[in-house]
C-alpha cells in the first residue's frame, strides 16, 4: 500500500467522502430501508421479484439483510424493456442513457433532476482528486450519445469549473490536433487511445513539447497496471483510474485517491458486495469476485443488487487519504470470460497482463482449453512480435519459459505455451472471446 500521496490529496465533498464508518453504515441502512419500501411499492418488476424471494421490506433490519433480496441482472433489464424499472413518473425524467447490448436493442437508464446533480458531483470527486482544477481545460474523447461516458464526464468537469472540450470519440488525428492547438491540461479517453498517443510520442512521431498534458482519466475498457506505467513514463503525466457502469449511474461510481490504493467506491450512494459468481455467496474479504451494486440515492432508476459481471477485489482496510469508503481493485475480467481450470478461476485479462511484461510477445493470443485424460489442460497460443529474434531454439525456449512463468505467477497455473508467427491468429473485435473451450464433460 502506498503511504505517500502521488499528487495533492484533496476532497470535492469532504464531509461525505470522509464520513466516520459507523455513521456511513447507519446512513446506508436508513437509505436501503427507504429504497426497498419504495421499489416494492412502485416498481412492479421488484414487487414480483421480492414476492418470489419471499421477502418484504420490513424484513430488512440490518445491512447484512441485503442478502435476502433478489439480484437484478442485465437480462432482467432486457425482459422489462424499455423502462420496466423506472421508479418515477415519466414526466420527471430529465435524461435517458443506454448501454449497447451485444445483441439487438440497448438497455435504457433514466435520471431525475436530483440524479443528475448527484452524478455531476460523483464525477467531480474523482476528477478533482486526480488533479483537475477550475481554470484548466479537459478534453473529453468519449462518445457523446447514449453511452454515459461523454456526458457523464462533461458534467463533472463543468461542476468543478474547468473548461470542457467535447471532442467526442473517433478520428485520432483530429483528437491530437485539438490536444495540441487548445492545449488541454487533461485528456479523458480510453486506454487504447492513450497507448496510441504514448507510442506516438515515444517513437518521435508526436513532439511531447507540443502538448500541455498534465494527466489523463482513463476508463470504459479494461487495462492493466503495466499499461499505466508504460504510459506515465512515455508521456510524463499522471494517470487516474476510475470506474462506472451505466446501469448503476455511469462514470463516478468509484475513482482513485492521491495514494492510489485502489478506487474508492462512493458508499454514501451505493452499497457494494463482492460475490462468487457460481455460488452467489459473498467471497472472503480481499478475494476476487463479481461486484454487485445497490443504488441508494437514485430516484429514477434504482437497482437492487445489480450483478455487474465485473471481476474485482474489495479492500476495507484504512486508506491514509482520509476517505473511509471501501476500495475496489481495477477490473481484472468479466464473469462472461471466466474460465474454471482445475477448480481455479482464470480470466483472459490475467494472461494479457502477463504478456505485456514480455517484450517479444505480441498482445495477440488465443486460449485453448481441453481435457485429455480427465485433467484440464490449457494451451496459450501467442504471436511473436514481427521483429523477434528467431535464429536460436534456446532463445525461443527462454521466451516460452518466461511467458509460462509469468502466467503461472498471476494465475497459479502452469499452461502450455505455443509460440506462433505474427499475423497467424484470428483477430478479435470488441467483446468476442479469445477462448476456445473444447473440454468434453464425461462422468
Amino acid at each position: 500500500m502506498n503511504k505517500k500521496p502521488l499528487i495533492e490529496n484533496v476532497f470535492w465533498q469532504r464531509e461525505e467522502e470522509c464520513m466516520p464508518k459507523d455513521q456511513l453504515r447507519a446512513l446506508q441502512l436508513q437509505k436501503l430501508r427507504a429504497l426497498v419500501a419504495r421499489v416494492y411499492a412502485s416498481v412492479p418488476a421488484y414487487t414480483r421479484a421480492f414476492d418470489v424471494a419471499g421477502v418484504k421490506p420490513e424484513n430488512i433490519k440490518s445491512l447484512d439483510d441485503i442478502r435476502k433480496l433478489p439480484f437484478t441482472t442485465k437480462s432482467d433489464l432486457r425482459e422489462n424493456y424499455p423502462l420496466g424499472y423506472l421508479a418515477i413518473p415519466r414526466r420527471e425524467v430529465v435524461r435517458f442513457h443506454g448501454s449497447s447490448g451485444s445483441t439487438g436493442k440497448p438497455t435504457f437508464v433514466a435520471y431525475s433532476k436530483s440524479d443528475m446533480d448527484n452524478w455531476a458531483n460523483l464525477c467531480a470527486r474523482f476528477l478533482y482528486s486526480g488533479g483537475l482544477r477550475p481554470g484548466m481545460t479537459a478534453q473529453v474523447s468519449f462518445g457523446y450519445g447514449l453511452f454515459t461516458g461523454g456526458f457523464g464526464l462533461h458534467q463533472g468537469i463543468e461542476r468543478i469549473g474547468a473548461a470542457v472540450l467535447p471532442a467526442s470519440s473517433g478520428n485520432t488525428a483530429r483528437q491530437l490536433m485539438l490536444l495540441q492547438d487548445l492545449r488541454a491540461d487533461y485528456l479523458i479517453c480510453t486506454p487504447s487511445y492513450a497507448l496510441h498517443l504514448a507510442d506516438g510520442i515515444q517513437s518521435g512521431i508526436i513532439d511531447r513539447s507540443s502538448l500541455n498534458l498534465k494527466g489523463m482519466f482513463l476508463g470504459s475498457e479494461p487495462w492493466t497496471e503495466n499499461m499505466r506505467t508504460r504510459m506515465e513514463e512515455g508521456l510524463g503525466i499522471y494517470i487516474e483510474n476510475n470506474y462506472g457502469l451505466s446501469e448503476i449511474m455511469g462514470p463516478g461510481v468509484s475513482g482513485e485517491c492521491a495514494f492510489r490504493n485502489g478506487m474508492h467506491i462512493a458508499e454514501d450512494h451505493f452499497i457494494v458486495e463482492c460475490i462468487n459468481p457460481e455460488t452467489l455467496e459473498p467471497v472472503a474479504e480481499g478475494e476476487t469476485g463479481e461486484l454487485v451494486f445497490t443504488t441508494l440515492n437514485k430516484e429514477a432508476f434504482p437497482l437492487i443488487r445489480y450483478r455487474t459481471r465485473d471481476i474485482s477485489r474489495l479492500k476495507y482496510s484504512h486508506c491514509p487519504c482520509g476517505r473511509t469508503s471501501v476500495r475496489m481493485s481495477r477490473i481484472t475480467g468479466r464473469t462472461d470470460d471466466m474460465l474454471i481450470i482445475r477448480g481455479v478461476n482464470v480470466y483472459p485479462s490475467q494472461i494479457e497482463s502477463a504478456l505485456l511484461a514480455i517484450p517479444e510477445a505480441s498482445p495477440h493470443y488465443m486460449i485453448e482449453v481441453s481435457r485429455p485424460k480427465h485433467m484440464d489442460e490449457v494451451t496459450v497460443h501467442i504471436e511473436l512480435k514481427p521483429n523477434s529474434m528467431v535464429d536460436s531454439i534456446s532463445e525461443l525456449n527462454v521466451i516460452r519459459d518466461r511467458i509460462c512463468a509469468g502466467i503461472a505467477n498471476i494465475t497459479g497455473l502452469r499452461m502450455k505455451i505455443h509460440l506462433e508467427p505474427p499475423n497467424t491468429l484470428e483477430r478479435f473485435e470488441g467483446k468476442s472471446r479469445r477462448v476456445k473451450d473444447v473440454r468434453t464433460l464425461k462422468d
Binding site: 514481427p386 523477434s388 528467431v390 525461443l396 505455443h418 508467427p421 505474427p422 497467424t424
Partner: protein, 142 residues
C-alpha cells in the same frame, strides 16, 4: 567474408514449409542450401540464397517471421579430421559455435560447413590465418 543467412520461424503445421519454398520459387530465388532445426512446437528454417535481401523482403511480405544472421562458410576437405581441424582453430581463438550445418558444394566434391559463431569476425580471421578457405559470397554463389 561473412554470408547472410535467413532464419525463418516455422510453425509445426502442414504446409508451412512448402509455403516458404513456394514464395522463394515464385520470385526466382534459388536455394543454395537449407537446414531445419525443430522442436515439438516450432522450428527454425535456415536458408542461404544469393538474393538474400529480396528473399527476406518477399518472405516478410508473405507474413513470415524472418531474421538475417551473419554466418561463416568454410570449405573443408571431405576426409577424416577435416571438421576436427576447424573446431580446434575456433576453440583456440576463444570463439563459440552456436550451430553448424554442412552441404556439398556444387562446383567440386568438397564439403562446405556453415557456422554461426558468437563472434563471426574473430572466427573468420582465425580461420584465414590458419589457411582455411573461408568462402566469400562470390565463390559460394558463383
Amino acid at each position: 567474408m561473412k554470408i547472410q543467412q535467413l532464419a525463418i520461424f516455422l510453425q509445426n503445421k502442414p504446409g508451412h514449409l512448402s509455403g516458404i519454398c513456394k514464395t522463394l520459387a515464385d520470385n526466382d530465388i534459388n536455394i543454395v542450401t537449407l537446414s531445419l532445426a525443430d522442436t515439438q512446437q516450432f522450428g527454425i528454417l535456415r536458408v542461404i540464397v544469393k538474393e538474400w535481401e529480396l528473399a527476406a523482403q518477399k518472405l516478410e511480405e508473405a507474413g513470415y517471421l524472418v531474421q538475417l544472421r551473419e554466418v561463416v562458410a568454410v570449405e573443408v576437405d571431405d576426409e577424416p579430421g577435416g571438421m576436427h581441424k576447424i573446431v580446434e582453430i575456433i576453440g583456440a581463438a576463444n570463439v563459440n559455435i552456436e550451430y553448424v550445418y554442412a552441404f556439398t558444394f556444387h562446383k567440386s566434391s568438397r564439403a562446405v560447413l556453415v557456422f554461426r559463431f558468437d563472434d563471426p569476425d574473430k572466427a573468420a580471421d582465425a580461420l584465414r590465418e590458419a589457411n582455411i578457405n573461408v568462402l566469400a559470397e562470390i565463390e559460394l554463389f558463383g
